[in-house]
């Protein structure tokens, strides 16, 4: 063992936002790559359920075109919901969340990093896959573009809202059902505007108003929800 017994250096505040964000993002992405089960589950669920609808309602092209954007949005929403518990559950169970709560990095830094990594492992694959599913429903190019744009703006909001609900429900009885009761009502506005964007495009109107509102919602959520997530985590590790 090294023998030098120098005095300890004076502790500087060595925490910063970029460092905290990068730490959480890199770690969670690495964990998601090493354990791809969650991402595969999300993607598989999305594709499976979206493929069930034509079987259930009949494959009439006009009907599918009409319901396509909404169905794809609902499936994306449910798939994103499925991936929520894993955001904090493992860290809470193995003690990593406590260590993060005591980190010198600002709490919003690593919380935002975790949420961004979660989106990269769930919302982003859903967004990338949505045009393929849209083809299955016979949607035209402009509608597909509007749908993908809406998902690109909306899925991060779902991750942010979901993070707040998951953090609140850490350690609670009632598991998945409680999380559904908390998260799904908060998801409703995102669904309304997201599906509305694609439907407007399909009806020949511009999707811009819906997309602008989604964008504004994303900015509000990105600024306002990470502090709420931090407050919920503090309550959870108490």
């Amino acid at each position: 063992m090294s023998a030098a017994v120098a005095p300890l250096p004076a502790a500087e505040t060595c925490g910063s936002f970029p460092a905290g964000f990068a730490w959480a993002f890199a770690r969670d992405v690495k964990l998601a790559v090493r354990h791809p089960g969650e991402t595969l589950l999300v993607v598989a669920f999305f594709v499976l359920v979206a493929s069930l609808f034509p079987l259930g309602v009949g494959a009439e092209p006009q009907l599918l075109q009409r319901i396509g954007p909404g169905v794809i949005w609902v499936c994306a929403l449910l798939a994103a919901f499925l991936s929520l518990p894993s955001m904090f559950a493992y860290d809470y169970a193995d003690g990593s969340l406590e260590q993060m709560a005591l980190s010198p990095h600002p709490m919003v830094a690593w919380a935002s990093g975790k949420i961004a990594a979660h989106w990269a492992a769930s919302g982003l694959p859903l967004t990338v896959l949505s045009p393929l599913l849209g083809l299955q429903y016979g949607l035209d190019g402009a509608t597909l573009a509007a749908l993908a744009a809406a998902l690109l703006l909306g899925t991060p909001v779902l991750s942010l809202l979901g993070a707040a609900c998951t953090a609140l429900a850490l350690g609670a009885r009632g598991g998945g059902m409680l999380l559904a009761l908390l998260a799904l009502p908060l998801f409703v506005p995102v669904l309304v505007f997201g599906a509305g964007a694609a439907e407007a495009q399909a009806a020949g109107l511009s999707a811009a108003p819906h997309l602008s509102i989604l964008g504004a919602g994303l900015i509000l959520a990105a600024m306002g929800l990470p502090p709420a997530v931090c407050a919920a985590v503090r309550i959870a590790v108490d």
Binding site: G174, P185, A228
Partner: protein, 242 residues
């Protein structure tokens, strides 16, 4: 003076105060409610377009006002309990939630019965109705989360935070009829004035006040039960039983 503010913030003293006040609020609620309904059902004139059916407005509109107002007060109590770490504010928030959920349900239900003759349908997914339904689920979520933990204090704090997050839904409900062209009519009653007949307005206001008094009375009664549940093992509570 600082001491006086927090005197009633102690559950034991508030218990007695609430017990003394509650019957007065119930009495006020009954009187105002009777007056409001009398005006609404007998004095206000028949509507030119909708006939007698419109009279459901005297329950529907005050109930929806209360559903939003109670949520706002509940979120405020939640905020106070988180900021000052007080017990009583959290208990008041829990006491308000069931009453708020009830009024939300009444608003949706009476709205549904009003919608059938006027719009031809019991339910429609327009912006205001959908966001009111979301509000109902927010109340349920609040109660579910508050009761989902072994430690009730932990449940209080988580639910208070949820209530604050859900506050964003209130402006959406209120302004949804302005932002979207929907079936639901726009606001006829604003702070600047009204386009309604004066008797209809009076009827609604009296019933709204009556609901408000009822909510206070119900919350005070409920908070007494919650106080006893939580503080049941303390000396003052055991003294009550003897």
């Amino acid at each position: 003076m600082k001491i006086a503010w927090f005197y009633f913030a102690s559950p034991s003293t508030f218990y007695r105060l609430a017990g003394w006040l509650a019957p007065w609020f119930f009495a006020l609620a009954a009187i105002l409610g009777a007056a409001g309904l009398y005006i609404g059902l007998f004095v206000a004139p028949t509507d030119a377009q909708q006939g007698e059916v419109y009279r459901i407005i005297f329950v529907h509109v005050p109930a929806s006002w209360m559903s939003m107002f109670i949520y706002f007060v509940m979120a405020c109590y939640g905020g106070i309990s988180l900021t000052f770490n007080t017990r009583l504010a959290a208990m008041m928030a829990r006491a308000l939630a069931p009453t708020g959920a009830m009024f939300t349900f009444v608003a949706l239900w009476t709205g549904s019965f009003w919608g059938r003759p006027t719009w031809g349908t019991y339910w429609v997914w327009d912006a205001r109705i959908t966001s009111e339904l979301v509000l109902l689920f927010l109340y349920f979520g609040f109660l579910a989360l508050a009761n989902a933990f072994e430690d009730p204090r932990r449940g209080d704090r988580a639910a208070a935070l949820l209530a604050l997050i859900g506050l964003v839904n209130l402006p959406i409900i209120y302004f949804s009829v302005v932002w979207w062209n929907t079936l639901h009519q726009g606001a006829s009653v604003k702070f600047t004035g009204t386009t309604m007949q004066i008797e209809m307005l009076w009827g609604m206001l009296l019933v709204a006040l009556s609901f408000w008094m009822y909510s206070i009375g119900a919350s005070l009664t409920r908070v007494r039960a919650i106080i006893l549940e939580r503080e049941g093992r303390t000396l003052w509570a055991r003294a009550l039983a003897t």
